[in-house]
């Protein structure tokens, strides 16, 4: 009768609380601890990446002027002035750090880890050891990044896109560029580990009754992102390895022109490999945000998510199409016209599922009963910035208009609205929302709202300013953009944009204060379900117990059951938890779906469903 204990206990053991410091904070295996580790790590790099952005904005507002105070710290070798060499490293590392060491660990590493097991009714991820390894591999990659700043010739300087030949030895000599590429490879490995874990967990560890059509949109977002990570980060790894081989061993994958010996490689090959990863990557960085928004809008409009299945299909369609649109980053490289036109058609088509998603969100909040909670404000903000940002993608998707707009600040404004602003706002919304699950009580509401408004106004100011200057023709990545007759007059708008950036930066102080005071507050009296929502994580205490669920829940309904008249009548509240039945009876185990292995437990009770 008895299954051997190590087999299934390893999978769904009820954890005893860890006792040693190492088991509690360093080498834990508990997805909730790993989530916090990723969150702290990501916040630190967000600070670094943000500082770099401020330096770039300083240089554009006051070209050639020494940076006050911080200039003496970071640019002491040039008297506090940002030099052209510094500048190329600044925009390169700003982009790479924000993508791989800020957004990814926060949105995916932290919130994927936190939400997936809890929202599907599991006790932990499928592979806890792999999870721990994933975090420490990421830490290793972060150390490589920091190390790259300290080597002779400085850190990477070929743009986040790292195009050869500029990223080769002749273009950017020294260890800095190589270390950074190695760091990308390492963090990519961590991401793949996480992706394998997340996908396996969602497929295999859903609680009984948690069918695919009852998954919260948050979990769908994380699941699809994890699949994209598993598929496309390896392509970046491949492209990156070839670059490192060119740099270290004299191979000729990307070498061409005067630098090539007898046989020339192809620099455009790198662009293909990079963007086959790079375009799915931007969806990787937004799908979790779409998931948060889809859920929060329903939760706080007290209304079911409008056409839930349509949203899931839209997110899935975008994921499937994400790799076949990548050529729109390469329209000016001289590709065959037919190929370019195919990419254009596909890129225009991929905008349709995204539009559908928006319509569903707008329909959800309409005729709702909106509670303007902090997470809801951040969700609304995300919709606002992704709306404007996403729409500006259309003239970029089109080849003829892109001939003008390519490599201008219009592109920079577009992706900072869709990627940076939307992911930023959604992630902070998630932090405020799930803070009680991680640390016990809610964060301070007033500070959170100051944080929101400074961020929202700041983000919009900066990136709409960039859209304007890009429309006027300002090229991107210029140390001094005002060298040309067609851009000299744009100093004014650049200064205004920079003031919005400093405003944005200042506003983060409200979060920093709120974060430190809330994390370290010792207050045992915390409400269990302050948001009054029905997803599974809110059925357990705050902060979440080590073992998550003392009993694995049986799921009775979807995650968006709000304002059901029957529920209001029978349960006396406008929300139904996914573990609750309307008539108050105990939920029954669903019939086993497959003909799989049935197992009787010690109590001789009914067979548990072993597969869904």
């Amino acid at each position: 009768m008895a299954a051997p204990t190590d087999a299934y206990n390893q999978l769904q053991a009820v954890h005893h609380p860890p006792t040693s410091f190492i088991a509690k904070y360093i080498w834990s295996g508990d997805h909730k601890v790993i989530a916090k580790q990723f969150l702290w790590g990501g916040l630190i790099f967000l600070l670094l990446g943000g500082l770099q952005a401020m330096f770039i904005r300083w240089q554009w507002a006051y070209p050639g002027q020494p940076v006050p105070v911080l200039g003496q710290v970071f640019f002491s070798d040039s008297g506090g002035v940002i030099t052209p060499g510094h500048y190329t490293s600044l925009f390169t590392s700003h982009g790479l750090i924000m993508i791989f060491w800020a957004i990814t660990p926060m949105m995916i590493g932290a919130f994927g880890n936190l939400t997936i097991p809890l929202m599907i009714g599991a006790r932990d991820m499928a592979f806890p050891l792999l999870n721990t390894l994933s975090f420490w591999t990421w830490v290793l990659s972060g150390l490589m990044v920091l190390g790259s700043f300290m080597v002779p010739y400085g850190t990477a300087a070929a743009g986040w896109t790292t195009y050869p030949p500029l990223s080769g030895n002749a273009g950017t000599p020294g260890w800095g560029q190589s270390l950074f590429v190695l760091a990308i490879f390492t963090t990519g490995t961590a991401t793949i580990m996480g992706g394998v874990n997340y996908v396996t967990t969602v497929i295999r560890l859903r609680a009984p009754g948690m069918t695919w059509d009852r998954l919260p949109l948050t979990v769908w977002g994380q699941f699809l992102t994890a699949i994209l990570n598993v598929l496309f980060v390896p392509v970046l790894a491949g492209g990156g390895i070839l670059l490192l081989l060119d740099r270290w061993f004299g191979t000729s994958f990307y070498v061409a022109g005067a630098l090539a010996g007898e046989g020339a490689g192809d620099p455009i090959l790198f662009q293909h490999l990079f963007w086959i990863f790079g375009h799915p990557e931007v969806y990787i960085l937004i799908l979790p945000a779409w998931g948060f928004v889809g859920d929060f809008v329903s939760f706080f409009s007290r209304k079911p998510a409008y056409w839930y299945k349509g949203s899931v299909w839209a997110m899935t369609a975008v994921s499937i199409m994400s790799a076949v649109v990548y050529g729109h980053h390469m329209y000016t490289t001289g590709m065959a016209p037919l190929l370019g036109k195919s990419f254009m058609m596909l890129t225009l088509i991929i905008s349709v599922p995204a539009e559908l998603l928006f319509l569903n969100w707008l329909h959800t909040m309409y005729h709702g009963s909106m509670r303007k909670t902090v997470p809801m404000m951040f969700a609304l903000g995300t919709i606002f910035v992704f709306g404007s940002g996403g729409l500006t993608g259309l003239p970029l998707a089109t080849i003829s208009t892109d001939l003008y707009l390519h490599a201008t600040m219009f592109v920079v404004g577009h992706f900072h609205l869709t990627m940076a602003s939307a992911a930023f706002l959604a992630t902070f919304g998630a932090i405020y929302f799930w803070f009680p699950k991680m640390f016990g009580c809610l964060m301070n509401d007033r500070l959170a709202r100051w944080h929101f408004w400074f961020s929202f106004i700041g983000l919009n100011g900066v990136f709409i300013g960039q859209l304007i200057s890009g429309y006027a023709g300002q090229p991107r990545r210029l140390y001094d953009p005002f060298q040309y007759a067609f851009t000299e007059h744009l100093l004014g708008i650049n200064q205004v944009t920079s003031y919005f950036a400093f405003f944005l930066a200042f506003g983060q102080i409200f979060f920093v204060i709120n974060w430190f005071t809330s994390v370290f507050k010792k207050n045992p009296e915390c409400e269990q379900n302050p948001w009054q929502v029905g997803t599974l994580e809110w059925s357990v205490a705050n902060p979440t117990p080590v073992y998550n669920f003392l009993q694995i829940p049986i799921v009775t309904c979807g995650p968006h059951e709000y304002s059901n008249p029957e529920c209001i009548e029978k349960l006396g509240k406008d929300w139904q938890g996914q573990w609750e039945t309307l008539d108050g009876s105990d939920p029954e185990l669903p019939e086993p779906v497959s003909t799989g292995h049935h197992h009787h437990d010690d109590h001789g009770a009914e067979p548990h469903a072993s597969e869904e």
Partner: protein
């Protein structure tokens, strides 16, 4: 490709750098400055197609965005906590049809307009390289980009490329007004991009390949050439000047430069012979 072999000699870069930095910015003062946040002056025959398509699309986008914001405002202020929520899953057949129809209409109008016009514009002008190449009126120019300057080459009276009478220029491309121009671009080191904002077009200059770019100027004057692909620390200064002249002035200038280049021609200086046989398109 073996057409474009060119060894990198430091002295050539040094000369280019000296010329570039030595030149007072005044030289570029003749290029008329822009004002306002509109696109730079369009002096090309066909740039208006791009200008129009961008502008009308931006109007569509603004309209859609405003509708979205109004919708959100109603939800936020009228359908707030004082308003009872509807228990509506939105998955009835009629509702789905409405949602798909709205998306479909937006797609057909906005995306459709972009797609149809882009296909026409690419086929008729911007990627219609074969027709430009076959046209005997077309001015043909070879441009080699390198850190951080633009080398220009005109075939000269003998009509052959990479010969003694080729007119060689530095950061200085001149064309006659009202004649089609076809530029073939490459680079000898890293990727650059040849950007003519006043013609609305740009194309990458990639080492190992030759990329085409077409335009036709309809006004005389002096305009910026900018680099539009990050190419190193001095990418921001990789500035050239595009001058559009009357036909007579252009002919005079070309003859003069061809003559000067011919005199300066050194058969042993392989660096300077970076040209290539014109690539048939």
């Amino acid at each position: 490709m073996d057409l474009l072999k060119r060894l990198q000699h430091r002295w050539y870069q040094l000369v280019a750098a000296l010329v570039l930095y030595g030149m007072p910015l005044d030289v570029f003062a003749a290029v008329e400055k822009e004002t306002g946040y509109d696109m730079p002056r369009d002096v090309s025959l066909d740039g208006h197609r791009i200008t129009w398509l961008i502008n009308i699309t931006m109007w569509f986008l603004v309209v859609l965005f405003v509708i979205m914001v109004i919708w959100m405002a109603i939800a936020m202020f009228k359908h707030d906590e004082s308003h009872p929520a509807e228990y509506d899953h939105g998955d009835a057949g009629k509702q789905i049809a409405v949602a798909l129809s709205i998306s479909g209409v937006i797609f057909l109008v906005v995306d459709g307009n972009l797609y149809v016009n882009a296909m026409i514009d690419l086929d008729e002008v911007f990627w219609n390289f074969g027709e430009y190449d076959d046209n005997p009126e077309t001015i043909k120019i070879e441009v080699n980009a390198h850190q951080w300057a633009w080398d220009g080459r005109y075939a000269g009276p003998d009509g052959k490329w990479n010969t003694q009478d080729d007119a060689i220029t530095l950061n200085d491309i001149r064309v006659p007004v009202n004649r089609p121009v076809l530029v073939q671009l490459t680079s000898s080191d890293v990727i650059h991009a040849f950007n003519l904002p006043n013609m609305r077009v740009k194309t990458d200059a990639v080492p190992g390949t030759v990329s085409p770019l077409v335009f036709q100027a309809k006004e005389t004057g002096e305009f910026d050439i900018a680099c539009a692909e990050h190419c190193g620390a001095f990418h921001y200064k990789m500035k050239g000047k595009l001058t559009v002249l009357s036909q007579e002035d252009y002919d005079l200038w070309l003859n003069e430069v061809s003559h000067q280049s011919s005199l300066a021609y050194n058969p042993d200086d392989t660096d300077a012979h970076w040209g290539w046989p014109w690539k048939e398109l």
